[in-house]
Symmetry: C2
Subunit: 257 residues, 2 copies
């Protein structure tokens, strides 16, 4: 397929590379920042542009990978091309696009991307939605060329996924940071925790998290919990988190029996 | 070294295997449950016993890997042997042991172990404490035979580590479970989140968590946050967690600038 990327952030970068590797042709890469457009375009052998007025009509698909609140604005500028147009946002309804562009869809990659790390894109779950069946089929086939994990997910379910991802990724990452701060305040290295963090995530790759829950809360070990709360006496924020999450673990475990 | 294992849980099992692989001799394995003692003893070619009266005095080291509140009781039974004796608990002070046994120490493995998964023990951080310098040296040398990550950590710092591990492992695992429940209530598979969970943990192996924090809270994206809170209207517990953790992420990010 001939594909035009609107955006040059982490999602645009990793998706463009995966599409290029799968044999698709990246026609143009747009970014307001010409240096960023040029960098990504260089990697995927595309033309960089920093103005939507320079868009080439000779393309089959526009992928809008910009901030959520910029999607509608971009879509307005693309509407006249009458091309298949998708966004990549978990939190944005298809209708934000389909109310502007006739042939609209969504390709939502449920993964966290960073500049510094290569992802194996084949393992990235791609959640597909099309405005009609024909579009859904086209997007599904495209998705299968770059990922082994393709799911059909409508806008309502995609929002649930996006919310669940906050619990499964954004919040754990913050808790890693809270743990790091606790160690740093006591002259201990974060390296001590890195193997534990990785193993905890590895464990749930082939187990359900409730089946491998450990720690004082799941044992309802009140002695350890009150000793740990005492250690947090000077950290009221962490103490509050500790109390809230421990209570949830205790309740959840009680509900299993 | 000739080593006697008191306990047959996950820590005892993985540590016994690592010690055996490193060429040490496991003399006996004790468990109140003879079947469990026999299973572990079989794997490490040791004698299983289910009564401390049958302990063999021909050993160099007792490793007490039992529940925290049982450590002192076991230590009392071992005191007469006058052997080097360690516990493996993060939350337990060395003095619990050293007040009973003369030659006391701690080997605390900062990792989560499960029956179903093999760990690469060489990467497990081992936190060592000895009652005196000679004991510390012996334990350090022993620890280096089974792990590349050996740290000297006193009891006060070990308690901080144990607490930080709750934040870095037990709480994230509960959040994985909360995410799973959210998906299950909407007929979505947990498989959708597994790659994201793993990548989130991988990212902090060579980054600091605050540097790779993503999600609506770190962007202070109030629109997305209030939309997500609305999705949690019927889940007051999850809503509370969402609010507490989002506020902490916002505060933490503000403090970085």
């Amino acid at each position: 397929m001939r594909i035009t990327l609107i955006g040059s952030g982490n999602v645009a970068t990793h998706m463009a590379a995966a599409l290029k590797n799968a044999g698709h042709r990246i026609v143009q890469v747009y970014s307001r920042n010409m240096a960023r457009a040029a960098l990504l375009a260089y990697h995927v052998k595309a033309e960089p542009i920093d103005s939507l007025e320079n868009l080439n009509a000779e393309t089959d698909l526009f992928i809008i990978a910009v901030k959520d609140d910029a999607i509608a604005g971009v879509a307005n500028e693309l509407a006249s091309f009458q091309k298949l147009t998708v966004h990549t946002s978990g939190a944005t309804d298809l209708s934000v696009l389909s109310s502007i562009v006739l042939r609209a869809g969504v390709i939502y990659p449920l993964q966290t991307f960073s500049k510094s790390r290569e992802n194996d894109f084949l393992t990235v779950p791609l959640c597909i939605e099309g405005f009609n069946e024909e579009i859904t089929t086209v997007l599904q086939e495209l998705a299968h060329t770059i990922s082994n994990n393709v799911y059909l997910v409508d806008s309502a379910h995609r929002k649930i996924l996006h919310l669940a991802a906050v619990f499964a990724s954004n919040f754990p990452n913050y808790l890693y940071e809270a743990a790091r701060q606790l160690l740093a305040a006591n002259q201990l290295e974060f390296d001590l925790l890195r193997p534990l963090i990785l193993e905890t995530a590895m464990k749930v790759q082939d187990n359900l998290p409730a089946d491998v829950q450990t720690g004082p809360a799941v044992r309802n070990d009140k002695l350890t919990m009150s000793a740990q709360l005492a250690l947090l006496a000077s950290e009221p924020n962490l103490k509050n988190i500790y109390e809230v999450l421990s209570q949830e673990i205790i309740k959840n475990e009680a509900g299993r029996h």
